[in-house]
C-alpha cells in the first residue's frame, strides 16, 4: 500500500508527512486520554497533592487512603452488585427476546411480519424523555420502585438488538433450515440448536453492547430508585458527587477513586473486545 507506483505522483505520507501525522494523532490521543490519566493518578494522591495549586500530575506520595475511605463511607460492594445483577438480567433478556424476534423477522414468513418490523424501526427512534414520567407512575403502581424488576423490565428487549440479530440471521441459508424441517425438527429446536450457534459473533456483540449500556445507564436508575440500598454505581457516584456534606479535600480523592472503580472494568472489557464494537457499529449502522 505504501509504495507508490512508478508513474503516479506520490501523495502517500512521505518521509516528512508521515512523522508529522503521527505527531498530530499522538497529540490528539493524549488530549483524549488526559482526563483518564488525571483520574487514575488523582485517585492515589494525598489530600495535600489534590489541593496543590498549581496542580501536580504525579502523586508526591502514593496512597490508597482514598480507596479505603471510599469503601468505608460508601457501600461500594453493594452498588457494584446492583449494577452487575441488573446488567446481567438485562443482557440475558435481550439475548433471548431479541434473537427470537430477529429469527422470526429473518427466517419465518408470517402475516404481519412487515408491520412487526415497522414497530421495531419505530421503537429505535422513541426518545427516553417521552417514557420516563408515566413509567415512574406505572412502576409505583406495580410496587416495582426500588426493585431489580423495575430496573430491568423497561430495558428487557431493545430494538437495536432485534435489528442486529435480524441482519446476521438473514445470512443463514434457508436450505439449511429447510433440511432440518424435513428431518422433523420443530421451530424452537431449529432456533435453539441451529440458528443460535451460527450467530455466536452477533450474540457476543449484542452481549457487550447491552451489558455496557446497562452498566452505564443513569437516568432510569436515578428515577426508579429511592432506597440507597438499590442504587446502581452511577447513581451512587452522582449522589455522592452532588452531596453538599462531602468533605472538600478527602471527598475529591474519594470521587476520583470511585470514578476509577466505575470506569476501569468498562475500559478493560472494551480494550479486550474492541473489535466487536466497531463490527457491531458497522453492521447495524447504529450506536
Amino acid at each position: 500500500m505504501t509504495a507508490p507506483t512508478a508513474t503516479a505522483p506520490t501523495r502517500r505520507p512521505g518521509r516528512v508527512r508521515g512523522p508529522l501525522l503521527y505527531t498530530v494523532a499522538s497529540l490528539g490521543l493524549l488530549v483524549m486520554a488526559a482526563p483518564f490519566l488525571w483520574m487514575a493518578l488523582s485517585a492515589f494522591k494525598t489530600k495535600k497533592d489534590l489541593a496543590a495549586s498549581p496542580p501536580v500530575w504525579i502523586p508526591s506520595h502514593w496512597t490508597l487512603a482514598n480507596f479505603r475511605d471510599l469503601l468505608d463511607q460508601l457501600d461500594m460492594a453493594r452498588y457494584f452488585m446492583n449494577s452487575l445483577i441488573v446488567a446481567v438480567l438485562v443482557t440475558v433478556c435481550n439475548l433471548l427476546f431479541c434473537s427470537m424476534l430477529g429469527y422470526a423477522l429473518a427466517k419465518l414468513q408470517f402475516t404481519g411480519r412487515s408491520k412487526v418490523f415497522g414497530i421495531v424501526l419505530a421503537a429505535l427512534m422513541v426518545p427516553g424523555n417521552l417514557l420516563v414520567l408515566p413509567l415512574y407512575v406505572l412502576m409505583t403502581k406495580l410496587n416495582l420502585i426500588d426493585t431489580y424488576a423495575g430496573l430491568v423490565l423497561p430495558f428487557a428487549a431493545g430494538a437495536f438488538g432485534v435489528f442486529l440479530m435480524r441482519q446476521f440471521m438473514q445470512s443463514i441459508p434457508d436450505e439449511l433450515l429447510e433440511a432440518a424441517r424435513i428431518d422433523g425438527a420443530g421451530e424452537w429446536y431449529i432456533f435453539w440448536r441451529i440458528v443460535l450457534p451460527l450467530v455466536k459473533p452477533a450474540l457476543a456483540t449484542l452481549t457487550i453492547f447491552t451489558f455496557l449500556g446497562s452498566w452505564n445507564n443513569f437516568v432510569w436508575p436515578l428515577i426508579a430508585t429511592n432506597d440507597p440500598g438499590k442504587y446502581t454505581l452511577p447513581v451512587a457516584l452522582a449522589t455522592f458527587a452532588n452531596d453538599p456534606n462531602r468533605t472538600v479535600g478527602g471527598g475529591n480523592g474519594m470521587l476520583m477513586a470511585g470514578s476509577l472503580l466505575v470506569v476501569l472494568p468498562v475500559l478493560l472489557v472494551f480494550a479486550v473486545l474492541q473489535r466487536h464494537f466497531t463490527q457491531g457499529i458497522a453492521t447495524a449502522g447504529l450506536k
Binding site: M32, M100, N129, Y136
Partner: protein, 331 residues
C-alpha cells in the same frame, strides 16, 4: 386469518421499506421460490410466538408510556396522582401555554439550541478529521489509536463528568495548571455563566467524537481506492482530495452522523446534571434537565409531560429538516 399472497410476503422479506440507515446496503430484489405460500400457515403461528415477548414489552414499556405522556400533558398531574393516576384533572392546553411564559424553560430551550448549534458541527468535523487522519495517514498502530479515540464513548458518563469537574476546577484542576504554566489565568469554567456551557460542550465533543469517527472510518473504507487513485493522478493534493472526493462521497455518513449527534445533544442531560445542576443561574439548564426537575423534584408531572412533547416535536422537526437539507445538497 387470511393467507398473504406471495408478493406481499416477498416485500416483507426484502428488508426495510422505510429509508434505511446509511451503512445498511441494498437488500431488495431477492426473489423467492413459489413454495413460500404453502409454508405460511405453519410459520404464522411460530412467527407470532417468537414475536410475542418483544411485542408485549414494547406495548407495556413504550407504547403505553408514549400515549400516557400525551394524556398527562393535558392534565395537572401532580404528586398525589402518582398513586391515583386517573384522578388528575384535565386542563386542556394550559401546560403548553404556560411553557411559553416560563423563563426557565425558555432559557433551557435556548441553551439546548446553543449546545446543538456549537456542539454538533464541532463533533462531526473533528470526528471526520480524526477518521481521515487514522484511515489515510496512519498505517501502523491503527487499532491502538482507534481504541484510544473511541474509549470515552464506552465509559460511564457520570464517572467521566465527575472527573471533568475536577479537570476544569479553577484552583487545582488540570486546565488551570496548564494555563498557569503558559502564564495565563484560567476562568472558573463551571462557575461562570459565560464559560459553563462551552465547558459542557467541550466535554460532549470529547466524549462523542469516537462514535462519529467510527462511522466515518466505515464510510471511508467503503470508498473504492480507484477513486482516490484517479484524483491523485489528476494532481489533486491532500486537501483537494478531502474536499472534492472524500467529503462528497461521505455525504450519507455525514448526514447520519449529524442526525444522531443532534438527537443526542438535544436530549443532553447527564453532563449538566452531574457537573452544574443547571447553574450558575440556569446558564446550563437544558430542556431534559428542566423536565427532570419539574417532574421528579417538584412533581409537576403534567407540566413536565408537556415539556417532553415539545422537545419531541422539536427533535422531529430538526431531524426532518436535516434529512431534507442534506438530501437536497446531494442531488
Amino acid at each position: 386469518m387470511s393467507l398473504v399472497t406471495g408478493s406481499t410476503a416477498d416485500s416483507a422479506a426484502t428488508g426495510p421499506t422505510k429509508p434505511s440507515k446509511a451503512p445498511v446496503g441494498p437488500m431488495r430484489g431477492s426473489t423467492r421460490g413459489p413454495d413460500r405460500g404453502r409454508r405460511l400457515g405453519r410459520h404464522n403461528l411460530h412467527g407470532w410466538l417468537f414475536s410475542t415477548p418483544f411485542l408485549v414489552l414494547f406495548g407495556v414499556f413504550m407504547l403505553l408510556p408514549i400515549v400516557a405522556t400525551l394524556l398527562m400533558s393535558f392534565t395537572d398531574f401532580g404528586a398525589r396522582d402518582v398513586t391515583r393516576p386517573f384522578e388528575a384533572e384535565f386542563v386542556g392546553f394550559d401546560n403548553y401555554t404556560r411553557l411559553f411564559d416560563d423563563d426557565v424553560f425558555r432559557t433551557a430551550l435556548f441553551n439546548t439550541g446553543y449546545f446543538v448549534v456549537v456542539g454538533v458541527p464541532l463533533t462531526v468535523v473533528l470526528g471526520l478529521l480524526v477518521a481521515v487522519l487514522l484511515n489515510n495517514g496512519i498505517d501502523r498502530a491503527r487499532t491502538f489509536f482507534r481504541v484510544g479515540f473511541y474509549a470515552p464513548v464506552v465509559t460511564t458518563i457520570v464517572a467521566v463528568a465527575v472527573v471533568w469537574r475536577f479537570v476544569l476546577d479553577p484552583s487545582d484542576g488540570l486546565v488551570a495548571g496548564l494555563a498557569s504554566e503558559l502564564g495565563l489565568t484560567a476562568p472558573d469554567f463551571l462557575g461562570s455563566e459565560t464559560w459553563a456551557m462551552p465547558s459542557l460542550i467541550a466535554m460532549a465533543v470529547w466524549r462523542n467524537l469516537g462514535t462519529v469517527m467510527v462511522l466515518f472510518i466505515a464510510g471511508l473504507q467503503a470508498i473504492p481506492t480507484e477513486v482516490r487513485e484517479a484524483a491523485r493522478l489528476d494532481g489533486a493534493g491532500a486537501w483537494q482530495e478531502l474536499r472534492r472526493v472524500t467529503v462528497p462521497l461521505l455525504r450519507p455518513t455525514m448526514l447520519y452522523a449529524t442526525v444522531i449527534t443532534s438527537i443526542g445533544y438535544l436530549n443532553v442531560f447527564e453532563e449538566p446534571f452531574v457537573m452544574t445542576q443547571g447553574g450558575p443561574s440556569n446558564s446550563t439548564m437544558t430542556v431534559s434537565l428542566d423536565m427532570y426537575q419539574e417532574g421528579f423534584n417538584f412533581f409537576h408531572m403534567g407540566y413536565a409531560s408537556a415539556m417532553a412533547y415539545v422537545l419531541f416535536v422539536v427533535i422531529m422537526g430538526i431531524t426532518v429538516l436535516q434529512l431534507r437539507l442534506l438530501k437536497d445538497n446531494t442531488s
